[in-house]
């Protein structure tokens, strides 16, 4: 696959991909790797600095910060990925439906998308969390609801673009079923664009989930989550400012990796996206 080959040439992009895969693996293997129980409270050893026993120290309840970070992957990154998968799945189904079935179904779906997109996604998410109440499942649901119209619209555009191409028309005339055509021809075509957008968006969903958890609207204690860890660190900022660093840096690195990967993927997908170097003025 040409797409994959040109990505392989992009060293920084591959580095990001490897880093993210390593983080995901770390999250999956958290119980084996984490040195301590992320929720066990040990008040005698609270705020201990960096040491061999606690590599990144302990928090205000004496919990090991490194272990909480590692388990935090499961909530922060895990739920971001879950959110994106759900969003993309809904987007593919509705987008392909709209793209393939012209007429009323398409008009209905697209009108609804337009109305949904006329709200800023932040307001949409606040509204839904406000309606359902704080909590991680509600935040995930809110993010999915706020994001699906964008994917639906994009996938419809891609579908329309390809559905009119001769080989797809030929496949339809030749009597292949629509699900078969979608699986065999349309999904591979749309995959590139979906992956680019999804990789850029995973970063922003992670930011949204951790921001809401930071405010106390998302993950509820004692489940470790990076944004919530920052929220806890905020209360003791004056005495122990270093407590803000591990979760903040973790979020920064993962989001940066997703953004960079998204850019690399876009370049791999569309080498002409970046305008050629022109003359200087």
């Amino acid at each position: 696959m040409r797409f994959w080959q040109s990505l392989q040439k992009d060293k920084a992009g591959m580095l990001c991909l490897c880093f993210l895969l390593a983080v995901i693996l770390l999250g999956l293997l958290a119980p084996l790797i984490a040195p301590h129980d992320p929720v066990s409270i040990d008040v005698r050893h609270k705020f201990s600095g960096f040491s061999a026993a606690h590599l990144l120290g302990t928090d205000h309840l004496g919990r090991d910060i490194l272990s909480r970070l590692i388990f935090g992957i499961r909530t922060s990154l895990g739920f971001s990925l879950l959110t994106m998968s759900a969003t993309v799945a809904i987007g593919i189904v509705l987008g392909m439906l709209a793209g393939f079935l012209h007429g009323k179904v398409e008009a209905l779906i697209m009108r609804f998308c337009d109305v949904m997109m006329s709200f800023p996604s932040e307001v949409m998410i606040l509204a839904i969390v406000g309606m359902l109440g704080p909590g991680l499942p509600n935040v995930v649901l809110a993010c999915v609801i706020a994001k699906w119209p964008w994917y639906t619209r994009m996938i419809r555009t891609v579908t329309r673009q390809y559905a009119d191409m001769n080989y797809i028309r030929f496949a339809r005339v030749a009597g292949y079923s629509i699900p078969y055509i979608i699986r065999k021809h349309l999904l591979p075509c749309a995959a590139g664009e979906i992956i680019v957008l999804a990789s850029l968006d995973t970063g922003s969903v992670l930011l949204m989930i951790s921001a809401l958890s930071f405010l106390g609207l998302g993950v509820q204690p004692p489940t470790p989550e990076w944004g919530m860890m920052l929220g806890e660190a905020k209360n003791i900022m004056i005495l122990y400012p270093e407590q803000m660093l591990p979760p903040g840096i973790a979020i920064l690195l993962v989001v940066a990796a997703f953004n960079f990967l998204g850019d690399s993927l876009r370049d791999a997908l569309d080498p002409w996206h970046h305008p050629a170097k022109g003359q200087t003025l």
Partner: protein
Amino acid sequence: MKPTPTPLLSITGLTISSARQCLVSEVSVTLHKGQCLGIVGESGSGKTLICRALLGLLPANLKASGRIVFEQTEMLTASLEERRRVLGTGMSIIMQQAMTAFDPLYSLGEQFGETLQEKLGLGREKALDLAKESLGKVKLPPSVLNSYPHQLSGGMLQRCMIALSLALRSRLLVADEPTTALDAKTQYEVLQRFQRLRKHDGLTLIFVSHDLGAVQLLADSLLVMRQGQCVEQGDATTIFNAPRHAYTQYLVRTRLALSQGFRRMLGASHA
């Protein structure tokens, strides 16, 4: 047409290359005042690159070597400031892509006005008067100045570019494929216009085209390009009557076959 002793433009050993390959190699040509040089060749033969090298506007990844001397200015080594002084008033171009050659957000009046004010140091009123006058020379009404580029046709915009060069009193006009995007009738009008301008205004012209018929009508001397190489050059009449290189022979032959109808329309006997 008697050539004057010092040429207006002389190109010596012009070579243009990218990091990987040589795109134009060792082109040398001289052009005297009032003459017309035709550059012919298929697309990708390096015609447009030569034009851009003349103006010093090659893309940054291409390198040019050799010498281009316009009047007293060494175009390849001149500073940005020196080049700017020559461009427009000394040498100007008719772009191939007429539809996109003007800024879509400004009316042509604004663009003519500011260009003439800047290049000739005129006041606003004078600049607009001059613009109207030179638009008249290419048979465009003054109302064109109130329109935006998207409201005009490609042919009209091309005439606007010619008018701008006339207003700037450019001593050398480089026309890069001016007839390519046009239908046969408009092509004919454009060629006639260039002919008239040469006769009345003593315009020195470099006419680039892949259409031999069009070049034949205008050019005194000819440069035939193929894959970056100059395959034949010299007096236009001589080349047309007795092409030496196989490629030129092929071009002349096919042109004769293709342009019967065209010549009938021109109704002119040519040399």
